[in-house]
Structures are given as structure tokens and as C-alpha cells.
């Protein structure tokens, strides 16, 4: 049976007749699919017309200065297939090639334009809060069915893309970006016109009437909304406005990806020396499973090694009885041989995890724990070919009382810098092991190929080697808590063992040919450029010189004005 190709049509809004003629000629020259070329309309009206009149299921809307690849037809088909797979055919409204990622609120771009020429990677469809209008694939069928309409009061050539995405979200449809829609966009946009439109009365009113947020993230930069009606949302009130970003997040959460529930196998290595901390980890997993049972399958593999108690069996039995609802497997580390026990314990545990698709591995140390609150987002971001990196929070803990809970627990916000994961390539480690979730196959491949004879830094070596084969996706989803306490080996003052381990792992990495010479050259370029960084005081002196008296005078006036406002307020 032959596969039925999706029906789509290309629409391009042209600035004048000359552009129409140019695009007609280019289409003939390069054998591009026929396009509907329209001129004399604003972009809001253009999209409205397409939604109203398009008889195909999908419409690809492009600016007239966008250069599409010669195989655009098959790219669009691939894009539709990926979007359907990602969130189900009925749940998406728009796919673009650049936008603001929905969780991190960072820009993702799969295009070349005057602003950037970064060569992108092959992505999975990424949910975004805002899309760049240079190229938008509209799911006309879904948008018509869900009654997506653009607001009547808005006209012009700016923010139509953002408004289209916002209206899709209001009607329960996702907006995505994907690498299949990569294009060359010849224009960088008109920032002044954008600023005028964003700060204009029509757009500000549209926003304040529908949403409570005072900041909008767009590909042209953030827009501040300064309506006096902006407010917090009171539970149970009749206010019809919504928190835009919360709406986006809850829509993502409500849509189950079009595949099976991911199975996350949590590996923990233990000597059974501190059962209270191990119990805390198990309780956190049990709680997380209970809270996320509809979307995730959490299983625990306990790798027991170098046991520090004489009551081994009794302790294990106690844990099994105490956490009856938890799917738990105990494995023995066995003889280390040439492999250090920390690495061997992971390898042994990996043997207890079935191979195959949709199986993931999350290594969490036995004194750390997982955080359940945001785990429901994971099914959307776990893929068999992507290493997921989330956020971990460090906690200063005191366990000296020997109780089931730490006597002190103080969060050290921002201790880890996972967004800097790419600096792995510069020899810097910013990612604790519990921040990474690997596809089972990725870790298996690393163990199959490398000796891994070091001990400490095994987390760094594993992540580094796995990322040379797989993409990493970092998102600020809080997934784990890392315990800092007096027994942490991380804080050993004697670094000898750490240093020997580092040298052993790095020698293997350097000689295994996983880092290319071009990557090495990029490192060198980065190091040289980072040395040019100017300190705050250098910038200050550059701008103000040594005019300290002027500075203090301004400061005094500012303080006086501040107190005057307080006097008035009370």
C-alpha cells in the first residue's frame, strides 16, 4: 500500500510585483514546487486569508527573501512526520525554524540570517513560546478545527508570528521549531519597526486583555508590557486572562508523546554504609513514581559494592520491605579487576537493565535524591539518540546526628552550571552525574568501546564519551538534589587520587581519537578570546574615567529621591 503524502501548499507574501516576478523566475529555474505569491496584504491579513481559504491540510508560509532548499518538499513532509510523532497529529499548530524554547526561554535557531551563521544540529521538534515568522508551517486542518483566529485589531508586519503562536496555545495547539525547516533568510528584520509595533497601543492592549505577563520573549528580544491592569491571578476569580508561559507548560504536560512511556532506570552505587541516606533516595524515587505514574516508569537498580556492614542481607531485606511499591533490583559489584569499583558498579548495574528503545539510565549517588515536581516534563525531552541534562540543586547537609533525615539542609542555589555542559570539551566539568539521563544504548556503547580504568571523574569521562556520539539537550528542569556533607569525596583535600584518575581517563580519551583536531583548534580559539574579557572596573573606568565626585553626587541625589518616595508612600 502506498503511503499517502500530506497535502501542503507554499504561500509567500511579497513586498511588491518585482519580488513576485523574481520568485516566479527562481521557481522555474530551480524546479521548486509551485507557490501562491501574494502582494499588497499585511501579514496578519495574509495568515487570516490562508486559514480561511487554504484547502490543503498544511501551508508553508515564507517571507519573499527566504531561500528554501531545493528539496523543500521532502523536508516539509519530514517535518510533518516528526511533528506528528512528537506530540500527536492533532496537537500542533505551527512549526518554524527559530524561536524561544518553552522551558529555558532561550533562542533556538535552525537558519542562516544576517544575525547568525551557526551551523545547527539535527533536532527533534522543540516546543517554543515564540516563533520566527520567516518560515512557518501551519497545520491548517488543526487550526481550523480548533478555531484559531488572529485578533481583529492587529495589522502590520510585526509580531504576527508571536501572536499566531499565542493564539494556537490559547486554543490548545503547540508551536514547535525543527531543523527540517532550515532556510537561508536574507534579511535580519527591522528592529525599529518591531519596537514601535510592540510598544504600540494595539499590541499592548491585545496582550493585557488576554494575558497577565509583563514580559514577552520574542526572537527580536524581550518586550515589556506596561499595562496598569497587569495583575496576579487569583484562584477561583472570574478573570479570563491567563499566565501565558504557564499555559504553554500545562499544554506540553497535557499532551502525551506519541510513543510508549519512557522507562528510567536509576542506578545507585552503595556500600550500604549509610542506609539513612539510601532510604532517603528510595523515598524520593517512590514519591516521584507515585506523582508521575501516568507518564514515567521509574525503576531502581542498586549496585552493591565493597559492603561496609555485616548485616548485608538484613539491610537489603529491610529496604525491600520499607519500599514495597518501588521496583527495585539489587546487583553485586563483583571483582574489580582492572576496572575501578566506581566504574565497575555502573557497568554491573547496566547489565541488569534491558537493552532496547525507550530505556534510559539515570545515575544517582546513594546520598543524593531526586526531585519529583518537574519530572512529568521528561517524556517530551527523552529521546533514544539524545542525552538529557537537567538541573540539580546542591544542599549543604549535616548528618552527624545519625538520624533518618539531615539535621541541617541548606540549599546552595546555582552551585552547578549545567548550561555550560559544552565546556566539557574544554576540560571543564559543570554537570553532576545525577543531572544527566542517558539512553541505555549510549552508555552501553561507551562501556563496550573504552577501558575506563580511572576511578574518580568517572561521571565526567562517561558524559564526555557519550556526548561524542549523541546530542545533548540541556533544559532547566529541576530533577535532582545533591548532598554536600562531610563524607563527600568531592571535598577531599588530598587530590592525589583525583588527579591520577583524571590523567588516566584523559589519556584514554586523547588517544582514542574522539576529539578531532578542528575541535582542539576551536578550544584554543575559545581560550584566546576569553582572555580578552574586560573586568567590571575596566569597563567602569573606560566609561567614566576617574570622575568619582560626579559619581557620588549622583548617588546622593538618588538616595534622597528614594527616601522622598517612601515619605510620600506612607
Amino acid at each position: 500500500m502506498t503511503e499517502v503524502k500530506p497535502l501542503f501548499k507554499i504561500y509567500r507574501l511579497c513586498r511588491d510585483r518585482k519580488s513576485v516576478e523574481r520568485l516566479e523566475m527562481e521557481g522555474r529555474t530551480y524546479g521548486l514546487p509551485s507557490s501562491v505569491l501574494i502582494t499588497g496584504r499585511d501579514y496578519f491579513g495574509f495568515i487570516e486569508d490562508v486559514l480561511k481559504n487554504c484547502s490543503e491540510d498544511y501551508a508553508l508560509l515564507c517571507h519573499d527573501d527566504v531561500v528554501v532548499p531545493l528539496d523543500i518538499e521532502s523536508r516539509v513532509e519530514e517535518c510533518i512526520r516528526k511533528a506528528d510523532m512528537c506530540c500527536g497529529a492533532d496537537h500542533w499548530g505551527v512549526v518554524g525554524n527559530a524561536g524561544i524554547e518553552a522551558i529555558s526561554l532561550r533562542m533556538v535557531r535552525f537558519l542562516r540570517d544576517p544575525h547568525a551563521a551557526v551551523i545547527p544540529y539535527k533536532s527533534h521538534p522543540i516546543p517554543v513560546v515564540s516563533v520566527d515568522g520567516n518560515t512557518m508551517l501551519l497545520n491548517v486542518r488543526n487550526m481550523q478545527r480548533n478555531h484559531v483566529e488572529l485578533p481583529a485589531g492587529l495589522r502590520g508586519f510585526h509580531l504576527y508570528d508571536f501572536v499566531t503562536a499565542a493564539e494556537c496555545y490559547r486554543k490548545g495547539l503547540l508551536t514547535l521549531v525543527d531543523s527540517t525547516l532550515y532556510v537561508y533568510h536574507r534579511s535580519g528584520g527591522a528592529q525599529k519597526g518591531f519596537d514601535r509595533f510592540a510598544n504600540g497601543a494595539e499590541f499592548q492592549k491585545y496582550w493585557a486583555d488576554n494575558f497577565i505577563n509583563h514580559k514577552i520573549y520574542t526572537v527580536n528580544g524581550p518586550v515589556e508590557v506596561s499595562s496598569p491592569n497587569l495583575d496576579y491571578l487569583q484562584e477561583g476569580s472570574r478573570d479570563k486572562r491567563v499566565d501565558f508561559y504557564a499555559t504553554v507548560k500545562s499544554l506540553i504536560l497535557s499532551i502525551q508523546p506519541n510513543r510508549e512511556k519512557p522507562v528510567i532506570n536509576i542506578i545507585t552505587r552503595t556500600q550500604l554504609a549509610n542506609v539513612n541516606r539510601l532510604s532517603r533516595l528510595m523515598e524520593s524515587i517512590e514519591l516521584s513514581q507515585r506523582a508521575n505514574r501516568t507518564c514515567l516508569d521509574l525503576r531502581l537498580v542498586v549496585s552493591v559494592n565493597n559492603v561496609q556492614t555485616t548485616d548485608r542481607d538484613k539491610v537489603i531485606e529491610g529496604l525491600r520491605t520499607g519500599f514495597k511499591d518501588l521496583s527495585m533490583t539489587f546487583v553485586e559489584g563483583g571483582s574489580a579487576g582492572s576496572m575501578a569499583p566506581r566504574v565497575l558498579a555502573i557497568k554491573t548495574a547496566l547489565g541488569a537493565i534491558p537493552e532496547g528503545k525507550n530505556q534510559f539510565v539515570w545515575i544517582v549517588d546513594d546520598d543524593d535524591f531526586i526531585l519529583p515536581k518537574e519530572l512529568a516534563l521528561l517524556p517530551h525531552y527523552l529521546h533514544d539518540d539524545v542525552i538529557f541534562i537537567g538541573k540539580s540543586e546542591a544542599f549543604d547537609e549535616d548528618w552527624s546526628g545519625g538520624h533518618d533525615f539531615p539535621d541541617k539542609s541548606v540549599v546552595r542555589s546555582g552551585f552547578y552550571a549545567e548550561p555550560s555542559y559544552a565546556r566539557n570539551y574544554m576540560g571543564e566539568n559543570h554537570v553532576p552525574i545525577c543531572s544527566a539521563i542517558f539512553p541505555r544504548e549510549a552508555l552501553g556503547a561507551v562501556f563496550a568501546k573504552y577501558k575506563l580504568a580511572g576511578d574518580y571523574y568517572e561521571d565526567y569521562a562517561l558524559l564526555f564519551l557519550a556526548q561524542t556520539k549523541h546530542n545533548i539537550q540541556y533544559l532547566p528542569i529541576m530533577i535532582a538534589g545533591v548532598s554536600h556533607h562531610d563524607k563527600n569525596t568531592v571535598f577531599d583535600s588530598n587530590r592525589t587520587h583525583w588527579d591520577y584518575s583524571y590523567a588516566t581517563f584523559m589519556t584514554e580519551i586523547a588517544n582514542a581519537g574522539v576529539v578531532s583536531n578542528s575541535m582542539y583548534e576551536l578550544n584554543v580559539l575559545y581560550e584566546e578570546s576569553s582572555k580578552k574579557h574586560r573586568s567590571f572596573w575596566e569597563w567602569f573606568q573606560l566609561l567614566f574615567g576617574n570622575k568619582r565626585e560626579l559619581f557620588f553626587l549622583l548617588l546622593r541625589l538618588k538616595i534622597r529621591a528614594f527616601y522622598a518616595t517612601i515619605r510620600r508612600d506612607i
Binding site: 497577565i212 497587569l230 526531585l371 539542609s409
Partner: protein, 322 residues
């Protein structure tokens, strides 16, 4: 009445100071005396999933064999909350005709349920660790003058201290606390003017001023994944910012008058929040201040609790053990 008999009478001791046993009981469990406890929770339909999948199952584990009755009120006044009892936890959903703030919701439940023994106030987004309820009760029943026992919140412990010897703390978080009904009735419950946030601080201060004590029970662990650490963004205002600000000013004014208020407004402004939010906080506070001036005067005899009652920064209050 059968229900009343089921409730256990308090075990009161004469000593005013917390005994050595009491201190050790805060850290390690012993069999509690009470066999029944009423638990109050103010929730809305959006939190129903949390209550059903996390709070109720965890309460069953946390009971240690004590019979638990969970009383819920839909604080939105829409009465859409519908939760059934389980084998281990009896559940009653009380209907309110109007929207209620946090304090008003618990005062409402207190008047409805009329608990005869210690009762627990808990947030709908709490997950109780094993033995939480029995540990709270045990700690509460050790001293006759205990008004409030605060559970310990993890993993994000409340950033305030407690006295490691007496277990006393200056104020208790309303996210999970055990309350003595005599004390609650004596002081008239929460001050409903607060609507939401800081009313727990104020109730604790009145606890100290009324001759009762507030203690912290580190053994009773409540997992609380509070929004501040997960959900808050800088593109909108949150209830916590608005009401936290208004109530902080109100607390300053109510206990110390205009002089302290002046300093508190400075502290608020130094938070660097967007001007519309600060303006809104000040506007709401002014309205509250006008209403308050007509109602009551400043509390007296603050000097007796000078070490416990005080403001040390924006929404930061004096701490024990420091």
C-alpha cells in the same frame, strides 16, 4: 458522643520547660498517646490531583496507626472539590459559600470541626514522611504549654533556626503544623486580614505572647516542593509577592507602628521589584491600614518576648538559636 471518646485527652505535664524526654522525642519516635487526629487542609480543584495522589497516601503512611480524618475546604468558594475517603484516611469536604484566605479557611474548619485534641494544618502540596503525624503528636503532648509544633520541611528547609536544646523556634510555618485547640480558641485563630502569607508568623507571635510555646520537630518531616523554587519566573507577579509584601508591612505596622513601618517600606523598595508591583503592594497596604486603625490597638507586653518577636529584614523575622 462516640467520636469524642475516640479523641484522646491531652497528656499535660506541670513543667514549663521542655523535658529531656521531650527533646529526645523530637528526634526519635516513641508511641504517641492520641489515637485520632483531625487534619485541616485548604485546597482548590487544581490541587485535587496532588491531594489524591500524594497527600492522602502519604498521610496513611505517616499516621503510625493513628486514625486520621482529613477535612478539606475549597477556598475558592466554588465548591468543586470532590475527594473520597480511602481505607486509611477519612475525608470530609466542607462547603464554603465564599472565597476564603488561608487563615479564614482554617478558622472556618476549626469552627465546623471543633477538634477536641491537637489538630494538624497542612498544605495540599505536602508529602508526609513516615511517622510525621505521630511524631508531631508526640512532640505536642510532651508539654502542657505547647501551642504549635512545626514540622520540618525538606528538601528545602525553611531558612530559619531553632534552639537545639529546647527545640523552640520563634515562628512556625503554616505549611505543616500541629496546633493546640485551646490555644487556637483562646487567641481566636488566624488573623483573617492577612488573606495569605505571613499569618503563620503572626499566629506564632501571639502564641508566645499568650504564654504558649512554639516548637520545631525535626523528626516530623514534610516534603514540600514549594513553588518559589520551581515555578516562579520574573515575567509575572505572584500572589506570594503581593500578599507577602502587604502582610509584611501590615505586620510591621500592627506590632510596632509607624516607625518600624518606615524601615519596612525601605526594605520592600530595596527588593528591586518592578514599580507596578511595589505600587500595588503599597496601595493594598494603605487600604488595610485604614481598616485596621478602626479595629484594634497595638499588642501590649511585646517587651517580654523581645528575643523572639522582631523583624530583621524583608520578610525575615527573629530566629531562635542564633
Amino acid at each position: 458522643m462516640e467520636d469524642q471518646e475516640f479523641h484522646c485527652a491531652y497528656v499535660r505535664r506541670e513543667s514549663d520547660q521542655m523535658s529531656e524526654t521531650a527533646v529526645s522525642n523530637c528526634l526519635s519516635p516513641v508511641v504517641p498517646v492520641a489515637r485520632h487526629v483531625d487534619i485541616f487542609c485548604s485546597a482548590s480543584v487544581t490541587e485535587q490531583g496532588n491531594v489524591e495522589t500524594l497527600l492522602i497516601p502519604s498521610l496513611a503512611r505517616a499516621s503510625g496507626g493513628i486514625s486520621i480524618h482529613l477535612h478539606l475546604v475549597d477556598y475558592t468558594g466554588t465548591n468543586r472539590l470532590a475527594i473520597s475517603s480511602t481505607d486509611e484516611v477519612a475525608v470530609s469536604v466542607h462547603q464554603s459559600e465564599k472565597q476564603l484566605g488561608f487563615g479564614a479557611a482554617h478558622n472556618f474548619l476549626f469552627a465546623r470541626v471543633k477538634p477536641a485534641a491537637f489538630f494538624v494544618i497542612i498544605n495540599p502540596d505536602i508529602y508526609c514522611s513516615k511517622g510525621l503525624v505521630e511524631n508531631l503528636l508526640q512532640a505536642g503532648e510532651e508539654g502542657r504549654d505547647i501551642g504549635i509544633v512545626e514540622a520540618r520541611q525538606l528538601p528545602y528547609a525553611h531558612p530559619k533556626g531553632y534552639d537545639r536544646k529546647t527545640m523552640e523556634t520563634t515562628w512556625a510555618s503554616g505549611a505543616c503544623m500541629l496546633v493546640c485547640p485551646e490555644f487556637y480558641a483562646e487567641v481566636g485563630g488566624f488573623d483573617e486580614a492577612f488573606w495569605m502569607y505571613c499569618e503563620d508568623v503572626e499566629l506564632s507571635w501571639r502564641c508566645w505572647l499568650s504564654g504558649y510555646r512554639v516548637i520545631h520537630c525535626p523528626r516530623a518531616v514534610a516534603y514540600h516542593y514549594t513553588g518559589g523554587y520551581f515555578e516562579y519566573r520574573d515575567d509575572r507577579f505572584y500572589c506570594e509577592q503581593l500578599w507577602g509584601g502587604v502582610n509584611f508591612l501590615y505586620l510591621s505596622y500592627r506590632y510596632w507602628g509607624s516607625l518600624r513601618l518606615w524601615r519596612s517600606v525601605v526594605a520592600l523598595k530595596l527588593q528591586g521589584w518592578p514599580k507596578p508591583l511595589v505600587k500595588r503592594i503599597l496601595r493594598e497596604f494603605k487600604a488595610r491600614k485604614r481598616a485596621y486603625s478602626r479595629a484594634a490597638g497595638f499588642p501590649r507586653s511585646l517587651s517580654s518576648q523581645r528575643d523572639r518577636i522582631g523583624i530583621i529584614g524583608y520578610n525575615r523575622y527573629k530566629e531562635a538559636g542564633k
